[in-house]
């Protein structure tokens, strides 16, 4: 592999992994915020337990999302100096706004939400999760402004060898940023909805805590039903921005086919859910339906990843479409150094992903009483003392 392919693969690996975690983070944060709102205003014990259980899974997932995101941010400077050399002004502004206007607040408030569970007034605590949710969407928006510029460069003017912002309004309302924001939001609701529904179905098939998981299953399925059509609409209108490029990758066709198949699958499940949702007893009795819901848990991930590969590989060989070639943007460092970084990061990410899937599975199966969020460490089991 050439140094360029290594650098590209490294970014694809980082961004792809990051994206999988972001999808669940965005959707689940919103659903947790809604649950906490119902818990606070309805003074509902079951909803407080739901916030703790689903919030725990959200926090586990967030941790990997954040570290993969860190590597992504620093990779722009480390491996792709051409990007800042040519598009320094255009690309830097949305990134800086993302870090400070969105991410900074999100992290500070998430820390307060996790660790301030019993220290803060319940309304303040509720406000925190809503701010965390909204700033997560703001993050997605700013990142998509930067990413949308690569795909559909607008609002800039060439000035010598570099690009400058001509119209900030055009740059920040780029349809190649706004449409995917709608698409990804819908995708995030599908991911989180099927996650909640799938985990609940697993427990319901074992007849555990029927009230807790029935409510969770309904929230998950409603989120799926609401999001399934917008995901296709926001995806479909983006085809207007697809440009046939000379170097279209063979992966592109496969990716789009995979995405559409996954969507069709989710659509069928969503229709089944829509029919069954009004009839609670029927919903809970449907063993086959619950099994189908469980099996659908990974499908939105497949769709998200395939859609992302389709979007990003369709742009090649351009990094900024029609402006900057990918090969001209990579840092000319030694092949050995790039191999070392690539191997190190791949190993680290493989460990992180495996550990986190195992943890999510463990905590998802453990049920609401196994959640450690918002409660002190259970007293250590006393050492056995020999009695005579």
């Amino acid at each position: 592999m050439s140094t360029l392919s290594l650098a590209r693969s490294l970014f694809a690996l980082t961004a792809g992994t990051h994206f999988l975690f972001v999808a669940l983070t965005l959707g689940l944060a919103t659903l947790v915020a809604i649950m906490q709102t119902r818990a606070v205003f309805g003074d509902s014990a079951v909803h407080f337990r739901m916030v703790r259980f689903w919030g725990q899974l959200y926090v586990i997932n967030y941790a990997v999302g954040i570290v993969t995101g860190l590597l992504m941010e620093f990779q722009f400077g480390l491996n792709w100096p051409g990007l800042t050399d040519h598009a320094r002004d255009v690309f830097g502004a949305p990134l800086a706004m993302e870090t400070l206007v969105a991410f900074f607040i999100e992290s500070t408030f998430l820390g307060l939400w996790i660790f301030g569970w019993d220290r803060l007034n319940r309304y303040a605590h509720l406000t925190l999760i809503w701010v965390v949710t909204l700033t997560a969407y703001a993050s997605a928006y700013f990142i998509l402004v930067a990413n949308g510029f690569l795909k559909n460069p607008v609002g800039y003017v060439r000035f010598g060898g570099e690009l400058r912002v001509d119209s900030a309004g055009t740059l920040f309302t780029n349809p190649a940023a706004l449409l995917p924001l709608g698409h990804i939001t819908a995708g995030a609701f599908l991911t989180a909805g099927f996650f909640m529904a799938g985990v609940s179905a697993w427990h319901l098939r074992r007849s555990e805590e029927p009230e807790f998981y029935r409510r969770s299953l309904r929230i998950g399925l409603i989120s799926v039903v609401v999001a399934i059509v917008p995901s296709a609409v926001f995806g479909g209108v983006q085809f207007g921005f697809i440009r046939e490029t000379v170097g279209a990758q063979p992966a592109t066709g496969l990716a789009v086919a995979t995405m559409m198949f996954a969507w069709a699958w989710m659509f069928v499940v969503a229709v089944m859910a829509l029919v069954k949702l009004p009839f609670t007893a029927w919903l809970m009795r449907g063993r086959i339906f619950l099994r189908v819901v469980m099996m659908t848990l990974p499908v939105p991930y497949v769709a998200m990843l395939a859609g992302w590969i389709y979007r990003e590989s369709g742009r090649q060989p351009w990094l900024i479409y029609g402006v900057l070639r990918t090969e001209d943007a990579v840092r000319p460092i030694g092949h050995g150094a790039m191999i070392a970084v690539f191997a190190g990061v791949t190993t680290l990410f493989a460990v992180l992903v495996v550990v986190n899937i195992a943890l999510l599975r463990r905590y998802a199966r453990g049920g609401p009483d196994g959640s450690a969020l918002g409660r002190p460490e259970p007293a250590a089991r006393p050492e056995p003392v020999p009695s005579f």
Binding site: T84, L112, L359
Partner: protein, 294 residues
């Protein structure tokens, strides 16, 4: 506008060293602060997420405000930064994951990740800033390791209130005075006119930490907590010399053409960010009494 942009970047970078320096230092000293590990971790748990974003914000500002400088810096310190980021990730994963299972091997493994990652972060900052000073990378890494560890030890003294933490801090402050300061001077030997005043400030700050931590033999000092707070302020001042030395050795940089756009958005938001952080620090200002979520 140049000055404002530079000050804003400096503010976030100094904020990172002063705030995150403490939690990274505690991570480095995890095996030596003998109170139960989960309590030691609880000393930094509520803060570390809110601390590291100061660096993320600094990187964002650097890209947006001084892109030419950013390209130059990332080229010169590529090696150090490609160690810094994985070390940072390793440390964060250790912090997030160690409390999630109770098996001893699980906890030991992630404790190892926290300690190794924290040392990796401290050392790679030294190498990075040392490279800016003119090639004294490994030498300056000794200084930064000392300053991060000291700041962590003093922070642990304040949050945990243990004699062990105080004793560790007193050992490190001596080591930092005897070894760290000469290493800083050695690393910046190319431009002594800039280095020596900073090194003198560093030595004064370290002496301040030493005096504030001193206790009459066998007795409790009056105003113990206030003096510990003073020690923390002095160790914060000491670690500030790292970004200051980096800043003094930066080449002149042109402001981005679109800096006004970024500043118009980020500038007004900054007081809000500071307020959010102040709320976090106020909420968790007390002594650590029980383990937290991590």
């Amino acid at each position: 506008m140049d000055t404002f942009a530079f000050c804003l970047l400096g503010f976030f970078l100094v904020g990172y060293f002063v705030l995150a320096g403490a939690d990274i230092g505690v991570g480095m000293l995890l095996p030596f602060l003998d109170r139960e590990r989960r309590l030691t971790i609880a000393a930094i748990a509520p803060f570390f997420l809110g601390n590291e974003v100061w660096l993320v914000g600094s990187a964002g500002l650097l890209t947006a405000l001084f892109p030419v400088l950013e390209a130059d810096l990332f080229g010169r310190v590529w090696g150090a930064l490609s160690v810094l980021v994985p070390a940072w990730i390793l440390r964060d994963m250790g912090l997030w994951l160690r409390g999630r299972r109770t098996e001893r091997t699980w906890r030991t493994a992630w404790d190892g990740a926290i300690v190794a990652g924290s040392w990796g972060v401290a050392a790679s900052w030294g190498v990075a800033v040392g490279a800016l000073l003119g090639g004294g990378g490994p030498l300056f890494a000794v200084t930064t390791c000392g300053l991060f560890a000291l700041h962590g030890a003093v922070f642990a003294t304040v949050r945990l209130g243990t004699e062990t933490a105080r004793a560790v801090a007193r050992w490190i402050v001596r080591a930092a005075l005897l070894v760290g300061v000469p290493c800083a001077v050695g690393a910046g030997a190319d431009d002594l006119a800039a280095t020596v005043p900073v090194a003198a400030l560093l030595a004064a700050a370290l002496a301040g930490v030493w005096m504030a931590l001193a206790r009459p033999a066998g007795g409790q000092a009056r105003n113990g907590r206030a003096r510990d707070g003073l020690a923390l302020a002095a160790s914060a001042l000491a670690i500030t010399t790292v970004p200051v030395l980096a800043g003094l050795n930066l080449p002149d940089a042109d402001l981005a053409h679109e800096a006004a756009l970024t500043l118009a958005v980020v500038g007004p938001v900054t007081p809000l960010l500071v307020a959010a952080q102040a709320w976090m620090w106020w909420t968790f200002r007390g002594r650590v009494e029980e383990p937290s979520y991590l």
